[in-house]
Symmetry: D2
Subunit: 354 residues, 4 copies
């Protein structure tokens, strides 16, 4: 089975395991009070050109989102997101378990638009204290749909946020892919300029696990470790996070390593999908691709490849997700491309045997 | 100011105040352990032809919904509702505060359709434990949009619920109006047959305040008073609820009293709206009317009448809510009708002076 | 059955029912946006000599405590209380349901001491973000144990609160009794000076139901109605609360009416308990008495009187609660005293027949 | 600085890092759906002689406790624990954030006694639905105080649990030390026989991180992964947990490796404390020692050793925690013993220079 179902099917950049081995018997204080964590934080602030930020490390995306969102909202406030947002769809209601409503807008491409924010805020103003008050805006980039905000688009969102006094939080679970996505013009420094809080995902971009939360706005800095602990996101051996993020962001720059090449693999695969007439449902430009596929095709491919069934279109068609990652082998992509081309070259593609 | 903005602008059926005065210095146990409460429960079970139900009394709709929903769900489950449902829109996120997501479907007329349930359940099945599991279905009748489920429609919902093992909860905040709504073919006994739990609203139908929860399905009966207390819905002097519901449901039948007449007032008003070309936005058939109105009209009427601004259509038009209630005076409805007719009889209606 | 089990066995001051009847068919806006509510708020601010306070009305004590506490804490903060506090013991965990830990200290007399606060705060400082941070102090006066803080004691608590930056919230469910308790030297104006937020209980002191929250500290004023709604404490026909509090606090002063007399009944009863050798377990000085009683005695009295079993002392003895209230009849107290005296005059008291 | 402050100052058993390296580029499904996880579960069921258990892997202790407790309780139920329990003291209120009260009993040695359960249950029965209902019992073994339940004691707790219908959950964060603690007579199979659910801690006993939850009682098995996900305890690359637990519990048995030797280090250190007149405050018999120390002593030792300040005794004395672990070097223990002996051999110990 060749796996394209997600971007976390493998372990991590081998240098990280080497570092974990090398430091294994060192004794350090727990919970992130060690020097590795401190150094990693320093490197990230440098990478974001944001020396005054607070940087915290957590284990995974879901509890990171919950931790940040709960730290930014009062009880009666909710978080604005597109319907396809990770916080709305794929966190088993942990945001609601934490007491907050996700206020959603439908967006086919998964990008939140200024008018979405405007509509949600204005509707709430009609009803006042009978409705959840919008308290912050959540976006991810790349989005869950593989699409990307441009710098101009993110700047426009920031302006609407400012107009309504809403802080902006960006989920960067796949930021490392976004930096090299087709047409991307956003840098890590831009995120620091445009967001109040954001996180840089490690789990999907070369670390074993781990996310780095960057708090830019002073308002959200105090007592943040209480939130991390209460929301189950605190690692006892906190240094494991520091040790991983150091090589990602020091002169080795593993977070960026091979970035262009690995995005080229996604482009190559997407070009093939298009050639085969398999339209990308959301218009992805990053490492998650969402071709629309007939049932016979994804059933056939499923014998040899792993991928995700994302959304039903109708009884015979669905949106399917294929991911490339820092660890994807070009030969695997080539194999898939070859199979696809053979299938569609066939007189009766549905009959073709893989 | 003549008020049509809601159906709780006045106090209660005067007989209720008489009973409260008559019993005022009696001593009773607290928290619903008194004989009035017991008698009221008995009367309601009789009215619903459901002798084995458990009946509990709470103060208002929002904490009633929270109490019932939390009692019916496990932590990882959510409640299915239309987007316009009270639990989704107008409870300041108390359902989420209680840990549960509201899983919504858009419905212009505010009625949940079998295919809504089907789509939500099937989409969750794709993602399994990464998504909130649908755990129950919430509907209200009349709906928030003034529309009504027919017996056939509610039966169909029940069947889909059974298909997926989902219990059905019906919010009857305005049940008393629904019983006399145009075309209604549902009785209180039908609600008891088709729902696992439902509540009969007193606040809006002649009581000072109070709602009667009817638990039909044995599964949801144990320890229910713990839920009432924890969710802030328990009245110390519980007898105040019992005393109110007795005349509503004993031989005096205040819950039904004048029901037909008062719905006639709504019909009369709606006919006038239609004559004036003011389309009902959702197709209401009960005591809440939702005419679409141009800004000049609702601004003009606002000088003399109170009503609610419900939804923006565009910069110049909105959906406006007018309610009639058990206490609405026919003369007030006639006054409004006269004013509307005069306005539209005018050559230049926007210029007309009330 | 003569009832001394609580101070809410009867209805309300009859003038209140008269006012409810008189205003019954007036039309007012909902949710406390009416003139009665506004007037009641004005009267309460005057009674507290605190013109800048915000006053809000809620229905009962449990959701009032939850609403206030959630409005005063951040997620990682807890509320300090004695172990016998209402928020710790008798709210079915609604504070925890709202996400907050109650940080408790044991106190036999039910009064929180400065050293309790000090110990809780200093212990938390050892562990920092691994423990809930003390975020506010909760006291009630009279306490759940019938005891009373003196002005000097409450002032000392205030000072310790200030030392640690903790706001002080006082639950005045029985404030009306406390004002006339033996030795009391606290006025409503004192409460406004010493507390950040407090509430004046109506349910137990002459209203049908209702509590008045007084927010003195500006920090806790914004958006408070969102908290009321989310926590299920908002009454649709909010005027019912305003109408009740007006006669309690206008020139009629029903909140104070007969205050001295009714506390005299408690004193009379307590004197009798003491004469009979029934020690008050907590040292009550207000309207709730807590005599220690042997099992044979409370079982005998239980045939004729209702009271509450509060705490087991050992297999043969318990703490029993008797309450007097605004509605207690002197003849009922005299009857109980006569019975007690007869019992203990008897050679073999346990054999005496009531 | 020589660190005795906790038992997670180092990384992990080196074999684990080797396995992580060896499997690093394998592709596996996420979230524990891989073969390593399956194998680890099988090994643990074998070690517990409990083939029908469900085994799940989570990352750390705090979210594990929250996940299990929320899965075992209904909303109105609480968890019984000693005051010193981890869930009460050191989880920043995450249990309360999850909606549940911790119902506590004071216990100097940190062990819950049958009479504690009995008293909490019987007190709640007095008040019924006004109080949180005890819904389960939480213990840890070794306890937070380093003490250990004997098999007889745990069996007695189980019997009381059965008497009241309460399930028993055991936190085995340090189970690996307990197995070799002085006087221990409990095996992993015993835990499986006596508990409904328990967890085997990896973080403190040789893993990088990770805990294995063993669900014995069928009632708590369904939908458990929803709880894991919602409570932020699910690792994307779930195999990292499986891969770690395999060598801990396969023929290599790293979980037990050197167990006796490492507990001998604790005994050696404790003997020295006793010789120096430093009484163990709680009577520890496992790898966490709690000597009472005068301020001058712990301040002096603090120049060279790291340890934890646990509890203030008075202004001049405190309870101090020293931990040994699977990674503790005998030479470090010997160094500390030598220093302590020198200090106390001195005429004026407080003057001694380390």
């Amino acid at each position: 089975m060749i796996r394209f179902e997600c971007d976390y099917a493998e372990g991590c950049q081998p240098e990280i395991l080497d570092l974990l081995s090398k430091t294994n018997f060192e004794q350090t204080p727990g919970y992130g009070g060690d020097e590795y964590t401190e150094k990693a934080a320093r490197l990230i602030k440098k990478a974001c050109e944001c020396p005054n930020a607070d940087v915290h490390f957590t284990i995974g995306g879901t509890h990171t989102n919950k931790t940040v969102i709960r730290s930014m909202l009062r009880d009666y406030e909710g978080v604005i997101s597109v319907e396809s947002g990770h916080v709305e769809q794929h966190e088993t209601g942990t945001i609601e378990q934490g007491g907050h409503k996700v206020l959603t807008a439908y967006s086919l491409d998964g990008k939140l638009k200024p008018e979405h924010i405007r509509k949600i805020v204005e509707n709430q103003q009609i009803y006042g204290f009978h409705m959840v008050k919008p308290g912050m805006v959540y976006v991810s980039n790349p989005t869950e749909n593989g699409t990307m905000y441009s710098k101009a688009e993110l700047t426009r969102l920031r302006e609407v946020c400012d107009e309504y006094g809403l802080p902006l939080y960006l989920d960067g679970a796949r930021m490392g892919y976004g930096l090299y996505a087709r047409g991307n013009d956003l840098t890590m420094a831009d995120y620091a300029k445009l967001c109040d809080v954001f996180y840089i995902g490690g789990t999907k971009v070369g670390a074993l696990f781990g996310e780095a939360i960057v708090i830019v706005n002073d308002k959200f800095k105090p007592n943040f470790k209480y939130f991390i602990k209460q929301n189950g996101a605190l690692l006892a051996k906190g240094r494991l996070l520091g040790i991983q993020f150091i090589p990602l962001f020091d002169e080795r720059g593993l977070y960026y390593k091979g970035g262009k090449h690995r995005m080229d693999l996604a482009v190559k695969l997407q070009d093939c999908f298009e050639e085969c007439g398999l339209k990308d449902h959301y218009g992805s430009t990053s490492n998650q691709l969402f071709p629309e596929m007939p049932r016979w095709l994804y059933e056939k491919l499923g014998e040899k490849y792993a991928f995700s069934y994302t959304e039903k279109i109708d009884d015979d068609n669905a949106v399917i997700r294929f991911c490339t990652s820092w660890a994807t082998k070009e030969s695997d992509v080539d194999e898939l491309i070859k199979d696809l081309k053979n299938i569609f070259a066939c007189e009766n593609p549905a009959e073709y045997k893989l």
